[in-house]
């Protein structure tokens, strides 16, 4: 009897642990980071795991006894990266953003600079206050 109960408890514990944890991106306790990305072939939302400068993409990730899956809500995001790729230098990236804004809106260079700052800062909305 007791053995059956122990087994049931163990199964319950295991299934609780394996219950998917939806995430829209998260810094994990081990210092690695999860982000949602969209597979550019299948269009499915997946997770990118970033650790020590290396990234890997998968439908789910296990960490600290938890199974992370992409948040269902991520399908509402029109634009998601398909992965992480080199930006050369901060200056290059900033200038690329400015150029995109100038071309898209015919904005002045001062406006484009201001908007490029906003875009870059939006990627750190979880750690800084921005409005």
């Amino acid at each position: 009897m007791k053995r059956d109960r122990d087994l049931r408890d163990l199964v319950k514990l295991y299934s609780d642990e394996m219950k998917p944890v939806p995430t829209g991106g998260k810094k994990l306790p081990d210092g690695s980071v999860l982000e949602v990305v969209r597979n550019d072939v299948t269009s499915k939302v997946e997770l990118l795991h970033w650790e020590d400068g290396e990234s890997a993409i998968s439908a789910e990730f296990f960490c600290g006894g938890k199974r992370y899956v992409p948040s269902h809500e991520a399908v509402h995001l029109k634009w998601l990266p398909s992965g992480a790729s080199s930006y050369l230098s901060t200056r290059d990236l900033f200038e690329e953003l400015q150029a995109f804004i100038v071309l898209g809106l015919n904005a002045s260079s001062e406006s484009a600079t201001q908007l490029a700052h906003f875009c870059l800062a939006s990627f750190f909305g979880d750690v800084i206050a921005l409005f």
């Binding site: 991520a74 509402h76 800062a121 409005f131």
Partner: protein, 292 residues
């Protein structure tokens, strides 16, 4: 915070939607949706009364709202204000962007045509985030020459620029004229006039001062500025309280404040904040002018 041309604003928000983090184009504030777990960049086309109430939790990480449990909703927001009058005091820390009527219309077709470029930018921006998240979290970037909310906005924008001192340095230029405008606004307000009066009284080395005397000097300063308004002691007390200077009953002459070292130091700090003219040179021999 966007103001100005409405078509231009819609266009601008659509473009920002391509190159910001987890962008959501919204017609209202919509923090009640479960999308909060995505920490989206909210690009809101229409301000309403709910935005007023939500400015603080949207703007300041760590302040939750209570809706079906506690939720953190903070994240980047771009909001087209249009004709709606927002009242929140938290508006001060916003970055203001007047939308010029000359902007080119950025259409959904433009978005599609640029899909490849947008994807490239999103991938590079993601790598930038991942590579620099820790550096941004510990950044102590500051522009001490700016003041008040301009300095806060400069800190926020500058902290997100890693390994590019040129770009980081230009943040100060972006906010220079806004800073000058708000300095002028601050130094001509009633708060500034009352602080200027209190600086005068500190420099007279008075141990205490009645509210009526503060009002008298403040009114003289207002006359100098060609204002017809006359401040009453009760109003002076209310304004002083807002700035952390709380009056008490001094004697049979009525209420006032003691000008102890601590109060004089605070008055000087407030004086610098409000750009009180007499503190630019400072009074020789005044320890607070020296420490400022």
């Amino acid at each position: 915070m966007l103001s100005g041309d409405s078509m231009g604003a819609a266009s601008l928000l659509r473009l920002l939607g391509c190159i910001t983090y987890h962008a959501l184009l919204l017609a209202d504030c919509a923090t009640n949706s479960t999308a909060y777990e995505l920490r989206p960049t909210r690009l809101i086309l229409q301000a309403d009364s709910r935005v007023d109430a939500l400015l603080a939790p949207l703007q300041f990480p760590g302040f939750a709202i209570s809706a079906r449990g506690l939720r953190q909703v903070s994240g980047a927001v771009a909001l087209y204000v249009g004709d709606f009058e927002l009242r929140s005091r938290h508006l001060e820390a916003a970055l203001f962007f007047p939308v010029p009527p000359t902007l080119r219309f950025f259409s959904p077709q433009d978005e599609l045509r640029n899909a490849l470029k947008i994807n490239e930018l999103q991938n590079r921006l993601l790598q930038y985030r991942l590579q620099n998240l820790n550096a941004v979290m510990v950044s102590d970037f500051d522009v001490p020459t700016l003041s008040g909310s301009s300095r806060v906005v400069a800190q926020m924008l500058g902290q997100c620029i890693v390994d590019a001192p040129g770009c980081q340095g230009r943040v100060a230029n972006l906010l220079q004229s806004r800073d000058e405008e708000s300095r002028v606004e601050r130094s001509s307000g009633l708060d500034a006039v009352i602080i200027e009066a209190l600086v005068v009284l500190c420099h007279e080395q008075r141990p205490s001062v009645h509210l009526g005397e503060v009002a008298e000097i403040a009114n003289a300063l207002l006359t100098r500025n060609e204002e017809v308004l006359k401040l009453k002691p009760r109003k002076v007390s209310a304004i002083m309280k807002k700035m952390g200077l709380i009056s008490c009953r001094l004697d049979s002459g009525g209420r006032g404040i003691y000008l102890l070292r601590e109060q004089c130091a605070l008055i000087h700090r407030l004086g610098s904040h409000y750009g009180v003219a007499s503190l630019v040179q400072g009074l020789p021999g005044c320890p607070h002018c020296r420490d400022k």
